[in-house]
Symmetry: D3
Subunit: 245 residues, 6 copies
């Protein structure tokens, strides 16, 4: 019961991953809302890194923290290479996103400069946490996307016990299943269930084409009625415009 | 009972509006405090836009959200040009400030790029919300002042139902009556009741002249006692200084 | 009972203060954790000032606020040079850090431009508060380190009554005793009890030397096991490396 | 735009109201969940009255509060019989439930003994608020159901301005449209949109019959599998049992 | 500066204290509001004791907690009879109310059975805290009024350091100066500044006489207009009724 | 990695379990504090059941919830007897305590009447949750101890997805490992790590004997100094008293 293998079926194409790199998280929430999903936005995880541009995209690899226990969570634990926090950093696959469930705890860090550097060097896609990180001013300048609840100096052991890896978790109030597609832009992070990711990527891309056209009209002074949402004639004009591109 | 016409009397001069463009919200809270008003600062509405400089000043035009209901709040509603959110964007008078009551809800957006662009194009003075906006990184670069609770990708329909326009609301814990003067600077937004706005503008301006003089003295090494607040002799020196300017 | 003289014994050397200027608050929380202290990080006090670089370091001089009372807390109180807020600004020793207990109140300011300028001119080391300041956009550019809960225009009298100086307080959830060493870097502020400060400074410095070596290895592609924490051989290599420097 | 007439269509039968008197709010949330409604439970409104037994059932008549303004909200306002709070108490129809939007404000009362007594005497069905009431220990003993956030002595004017009546509001995070069916039991309050109320009442009643049968089996030692939810054979036994009653 | 002697002037008569025993905290907030005081109700301090009836009335004697420090706050500290928590319990004058500033900390106790029993035996009037107590189920049955944030088992040392006695504090968001009159009824606790207590007691009593008359009329079916607030004729009838009593 | 077998060693004697039935949670927090544990009290889990007397004592069997996902968490899931919530209720061993991690979510239930009845019938010792239950007024009268965050009608599927059983969790901010000893009294719930449970039970019992003696003296008018904590002579008197019993 404590292993949660995802049914072998769902996977995602490189083309879809590429589309996720081009669309905004705002657009993705609209596509998910259309499908009945209201809860896909990770609270408290804002983009820390300023040098990493473009979207963070990749499948989730999860790490779970529970509250620390004074006798178990001392500095000696890290000597064990099987310690879940350290093992997580070493085993998250390149291209995946390490997602940490910090229970929204805002006074201690879930990561620091050395581990983040290791994640970057291993080719991991990024790090997402609903808690802060430490060494945040240094991490902010790494070429590695980190989304978190800002910075806080205290080490994780003050309040956290890393307990297991790659099982379903909550992060920022959102369910995250291993393999779900994580997308982060300048505004935040959304979680797309793997089963729906392929179609969502395509429809989000389509939506953004239409909205680019709409925005151009609004910038040129068009009023909302008939333009947004588009009337039949606006939509026809869009199709025409699209064909030309 | 649901229309709240403000008695015809109060209005505000262009000169007073101009003074509001020059004083800080900090000064305005002091002037309001002198008059017995302790609650004029809008919580959770920080300045998002980085390119818009100078104060946001204008009369309030309000929009009210209540919690969404799953059967009423679907994407189809925007096809109706009478939908309050869309109608609000099209009918807020140029020069006014659209103020949205989001009940402090921090997980969904009350506005996005297309609507904000339309507000800008219509000559609206600015947008104030106690909730986030979406497309926040793009809106941050528009030449249009937006004050809000940061950015969040989800569309308003996830939690909000726009229900009516231009009736008294609460925003960030502050009462906002249609026509009240909204002033926003780099620090935040305050609401000045229209009835008091004329005199408050003048007295705030006077206060800032005196404080500029005081600050100069403090910068030159003066101690607080006798300088801030000014003793009679400091005040006399100020009057002298003022006369010379 | 209301004076809290610290036993004459503990003091701190200039050398230790200098080490505190070079280490991070993250490192300091680790050193304190080793000694059984879990609660040294001041919540809600982020660095406001952008031009002040380097660590804020100095002994704490405290100011305590209680909730305002409408009849006692009016603008007239500042005419009294014995008013604790004003007296605090004038009497905090140069080189010390003024630390304000704002009970986490986030809607009013605990300081503003004029008082902060006076602190700077008096040679005070910095200002730390678990509440906001007003005139925050101006203070942000002063060459004087301020850590606080961002900016809020309302004057302190709206909610605060400055009541006494230099007695033990809580700030951001942390106990602060007069004379404790305050250290602030880009990430935040920690409080080091004076009795432990000397040894903590030395050990923090040592820790950072080792971590610099570790980080270099991680940047060069080393895996965590054996490197962080360092195995005996890594530690030997470090000692070698250290000797060469 | 500020009047929100409900389309004339929907109404509710006396039989359905009677069913609502017999079912639990827990059951109603299940029926609403089946229909895609996740947000029907009013937060922070617990049953205060201990002598009123049975469910509170009736159509909603709403009252909206916004934050108080010091110059508008003084004791003199109640001399005006058109003051919305007083007018609301006098005009809510007998059999209806007065529902107050207090924005979750927990430090002031939205009602007191005299007004509550008047509501009771007028034959109003009950009072629901997401804020506290004053004189709570007396109101608790009235034969009139009150659901609220406990007791708090301060009068509403300290923080509230009653602003309008019988327009859509939020209460405890839930949308409440005038005429929606309010149901309160010992556990709390739910809001059933009028359009769905008839069918929900019937299905809730049906659900409770089945669960009574299931519960009897569980009490007699049956295991969950096959019993809850019922297998085909359990359901057949239930139909048999039902027929006999 | 750290002793806060109240000017010798204000005191309170036994007659006023007696009136405070007869009026409700709700009435007192109205009287204070009339005088410009909006913040007199202690948040988070509900009546725990079920056997103690009648109002708690007495002058405040204060105790202040700051956050615990791991090296200072161990079980050994209580061996010192000068420890402020223990000294406070032994020195609060009979007839006074011990008021503890717990910074709203809700996870540890500010008092327990043994100390509360000692307070009771010493003739202290009662205990008020904005934090919980431990042994709450036993204390609830003592003939000694306790107002607090419910029960929590952990001892105060887990998060609190008792630091000083009888200086101005905040409790539940309200300023409490030594000697202020504390009044608690079944609904909660209010703080009446000593300077205003005499007149507030008298006016509160008068208000309650009038409201008793009003309530009788409302119970007999009178409508609010003309009755509450009373018209001239209602007020005349009240004067008549009063004379007869 | 997702199974967390506790090392075979630790167990607990029937005698120790019996002592836990006689001591208070307050006493247990003191014993744990002595051993360096500050975080053993489960927040938000108050005793709901009024008919169940005496302490809840038993080893923890855990259930973990993550946020619901709209497509996965529908009413149909309960048809699967392997659904973790249902399987948990059927497999928690008699005598154990089912402990649910609800992430502090306060708007939905983690249990209801039918499942709680089944737990009771199966001989389970009790149920602990940091979220509410539904049917709370009925459950309150069952002869089965339930500790939770009060009552809330909505079913768990509205926000919860039961995901796994008997792995380490957090509950009310406290780490709970399967097999840890849960003790609940009228005040709340504490978690005693299995490894320390035997000695803690004995020492807690001893502490309560001494405190009974101390309390008797305090009730008879003794002052705190010398009595609490006991001086050598008080302790000698206690030993004498103890011998006689």
């Amino acid at each position: 019961m404590t292993t949660h293998p995802r049914p072998a079926g769902p996977s995602i194409s490189a083309a879809a991953l590429d589309l996720f790199r081009k669309v905004s998280t705002a657009t993705l929430t609209t596509q998910m809302f259309k499908r009945g999903f209201r809860n896909v936005y990770v609270r408290r995880a804002t983009r820390l890194t300023i040098t990493a541009t473009g979207n963070l995209v990749g499948p989730a690899f999860t790490m779970r923290y529970i509250p620390a226990r004074e006798d178990l969570d001392h500095l000696g634990v890290f000597a064990d290479p099987e310690h879940p926090q350290r093992k997580g950093v070493e085993t998250v696959p390149p291209g995946s996103v390490l997602v940490a469930d910090c229970r929204g705890e805002d006074g201690v860090a879930s990561n620091g400069e050395i581990l983040t550097t290791r994640l970057w060097k291993r080719g991991v896609a990024g790090f997402v946490s609903d808690g802060p990180v430490r060494d945040s001013h240094v991490i902010a300048k790494l070429p590695f996307p980190v989304y978190c609840a800002g910075g806080a100096p205290p080490l994780n052991l003050v309040r956290h016990h890393a307990v297991d890896l790659n099982i379903p978790i909550g992060c920022g109030g959102v369910p995250v299943y291993p393999g779900d597609i994580i997308v982060g832009d300048e505004e935040g992070v959304v979680v797309i269930p793997l089963e729906r990711a392929e179609e969502v990527a395509v429809d989000a891309w389509e939506q953004e084409q239409l909205e680019a056209f709409v925005l151009e009209r609004i910038r040129n002074g068009a009023a909302l009625p008939g333009t947004y949402p588009p009337s039949d004639s606006t939509r026809a004009a869009y199709e025409e415009w699209r064909r030309k591109q």
